[in-house]
């Protein structure tokens, strides 16, 4: 048997690239969807923030003399609606409600959904398959119908809309989390953590969550886009926020009756909804490309 002796370790790869450098080099190579999505989302947030300090006209100022002014009328860039309210002001206020409902519901749905997903992934096989089916059943629930039931119980309003979006999105977040979390739980460092004497909650929080972080970020942005669409849909159906609070969905609904008098009017709230939802979807898509190591590698080489 050879004499054991300590030998010099080879120092390979001892100076790995530092993180800022890598990021900086990558900026020129980032996917275009990330830029477009990022711009649209920033614009949306910016408009919302500005609306708190400035709008072209005071909120809900009606002026029957200037009803249905066409776009380009002095003082009213995009014209006015049926009650003579400035369209730009209406859109800015609608963005506020849209952002508010989406932020609250997405954060809540992400928190609840991923927690459920992690708990399911960490449970034993029997509980796991049973509760996964339960989540699948949750996915099959028609969201609009849930919202209607909630509205019948609680009355229409932002709370109803928020709760409806949460119940709609929680199964989505849970279902998306289960698979990747199980993959991470099968890795040896999880086994090693149990070996050190760590318990399941610690492993789920410290080992699993960081490793599915990129997925959660992408999931969050896609769910945000969905939340904006659902909020608009519910407001359109009258289940969401009530007057006098402005909302894109309700604005869109009001333009229905003006199809002959001012057919162009529906494009404004419609475009606002489309661009915002598109922005979050593109952002999510771009983030997926950047954060998925496999795609990022092929994109960089």
């Amino acid at each position: 048997m050879p004499e054991p002796q300590l030998i010099e370790a080879t120092a390979t790869n001892s100076t790995g690239p530092t993180r800022p450098e890598t990021l900086w080099r990558r900026i020129g190579h980032l996917p275009i969807t990330l830029y477009i999505g990022g711009t649209l989302v920033s614009l949306f947030v910016l408009v919302t923030l500005v609306s708190f300090v400035w709008t072209p006209h005071p909120p809900n100022q009606m002026n029957l003399e200037t009803r249905l002014a066409p776009p380009g009328t002095p003082g009213f860039v995009l014209g006015t609606d049926r009650a003579g309210r400035d369209v730009v002001t209406e859109l800015m206020l609608g963005a506020r409600n849209s952002l508010y409902v989406s932020v609250v519901s997405t954060i809540a749905a992400m928190a609840i959904g991923t927690s459920i997903g992690l708990a399911i992934a960490g449970s034993n096989r029997v509980v796991q398959s049973a509760s996964t089916r339960l989540v699948d059943a949750g996915l099959a629930l028609p969201g609009i119908l849930t919202a209607m039931v909630l509205a019948a119980k609680l009355g229409a309003g932002n709370t109803t809309a928020t709760l409806a979006i949460i119940t709609w999105q929680v199964p989505v977040a849970a279902r998306v989390t289960i698979g990747p979390a199980r993959q991470i739980l099968a890795l040896d460092f999880v086994e090693a953590a149990y070996g050190y004497g760590r318990g399941k909650p610690y492993v789920l929080i410290r080992h699993v969550i960081p490793n599915i972080g990129p997925l959660l970020i992408v999931l969050g942005s896609v769910m945000f886009a969905a939340a904006i669409l659902i909020e608009a849909a519910l407001a359109f159906l009258g289940v969401g926020v009530q007057p006098p609070t402005s909302s894109w969905g309700r604005f869109l609904n009001e333009t229905q009756s003006l199809l002959e008098a001012a057919p162009y009017l529906m494009f404004f709230p419609g475009l606002a909804i489309v661009l915002t939802a598109l922005g979050f979807n593109l952002l999510g898509d771009g983030l997926r490309t950047v954060l998925d190591p496999q795609q990022a590698r092929s994109g960089l080489s």
């Binding site: 048997m1 050879p2 054991p4 002796q5 300590l6 030998i7 010099e8 370790a9 080879t10 120092a11 390979t12 790869n13 001892s14 790995g16 034993n124 096989r125 890795l187 040896d188 460092f189 086994e191 090693a192 953590a193 149990y194 070996g195 050190y196 004497g197 760590r198 318990g199 410290r206 080992h207 960081p210 490793n211 972080g213």
Partner: protein, 321 residues
């Protein structure tokens, strides 16, 4: 130090492991060798208490004076986490890619001692030095992907010995590494075990590696230990037909006396493959693949002890050489 008696592991009603006796003396290195599917990793995980929930374990695993199998969960994780270190096959999978090396190495220290941050950091730097990683202060702050495979395995070993365990379970620790790095890691394990009086349970399919590292070896097939003894005895004079077949299938390591004899020659193979769990033949579990099986082999073989400590269970053993 570690004594296993009558260990049974059952999954889904099928007996996977049945070990009558396996003893690891303090400060020694015991090799557990067998093919894929022979149950060697299962045995190691049963000792570490890391089998899946659906596995039923019975028997006795005595470690440092207490029975691991009769302990409650919290007691077990305390003993196991502090006294048993684990090194796995693939360092790329056994280190969390999102966590800095320092944090991972210090995991068991932070869990089992109440040292302050400063003391933990010093301890980690000392450990990284002990596993001969260059520039420990810098390695501390790196992520696993910034280290080479060999360096990752050194970091993993540092993590495993961080809480000064008495037993290190190394499950094929060099299989994922290339041959030159393999030798460095093996030498490191030997040196650590001698410096620290650390017992090592070394799981491998490679008899060359086992011979390099271990004082004693246990050959496992079909979840049963079929031959055990001092490494030199078992390798130079295998008695069980399976051990002999395994040795004949091993080219050895470059530098071995008879290594050149293998060059240009076909290696011996063992016919067939390890049967699926539950499909082993009655009697000797190896008999359906054994070239020397006789009618006697349909009965369960008895253990034979030769010399001081060389045991085997074979009806038609290789003649004493």
């Amino acid at each position: 130090m570690l004594e296993i008696h009558d260990l049974h592991v059952e999954i889904g009603g099928i007996e996977i492991i049945h070990i009558d006796e396996l003893v690891l003396e303090p400060g020694t290195r015991l090799g557990l060798v067998g093919e894929s599917g022979s149950g060697k990793t299962m045995t190691a995980m049963a000792i570490a208490g890391l089998l899946p929930d659906e596995a039923k374990v019975s028997g006795s695993v005595r470690f440092a004076g207490s029975d691991l199998l009769s302990m409650g969960d919290s007691e077990l994780s305390e003993v196991r986490g502090k006294q048993i270190g684990l090194v796995f096959q693939d360092p790329a999978r056994s280190l969390n890619p999102m966590m800095r090396i320092g944090r991972q190495v210090s995991e068991s220290v932070r869990l089992h001692t109440d040292l302050n941050r400063q003391a933990v950091t010093e301890k980690v730097i000392e450990l990284l030095g002990q596993v001969q990683l260059p520039d420990p202060e810098a390695v501390l702050r790196r992520y696993p992907h910034q280290l080479s495979g060999g360096q990752q395995q050194r970091a993993m070993i540092a993590a495993a010995i961080a809480s000064d365990p008495e037993l290190l379970i190394a499950d094929e620790p060099t299989t994922a590494l290339d041959v030159t790095v393999q030798e460095e890691i093996l030498r490191l394990l030997i040196a650590l075990s001698e410096q620290r009086k650390l017992s090592v349970l070394f799981v491998s399919h490679d008899l060359g590696v086992i011979r390099f590292v271990c004082d004693r070896v246990a050959v496992i097939y079909g979840g049963r230990i079929i031959e055990t003894g001092r490494t030199e005895d078992v390798i130079s004079n295998p008695r069980h037909r399976y051990t002999a077949a395994l040795l004949a299938a091993n080219p050895g390591m470059p530098g071995d006396d008879n290594y050149s004899a293998f060059i240009g020659r076909r290696l011996h193979t063992i016919q067939g493959s390890v049967p699926a769990v539950g499909n082993f033949p009655s009697g000797c579990r190896f008999r359906n693949r054994c070239e020397h099986a006789t009618d006697a082999c349909t009965a369960t073989p008895k253990q034979v002890i030769v010399g001081s400590d060389h045991r085997y269970s074979c009806w038609n053993p290789v003649a004493e050489g």
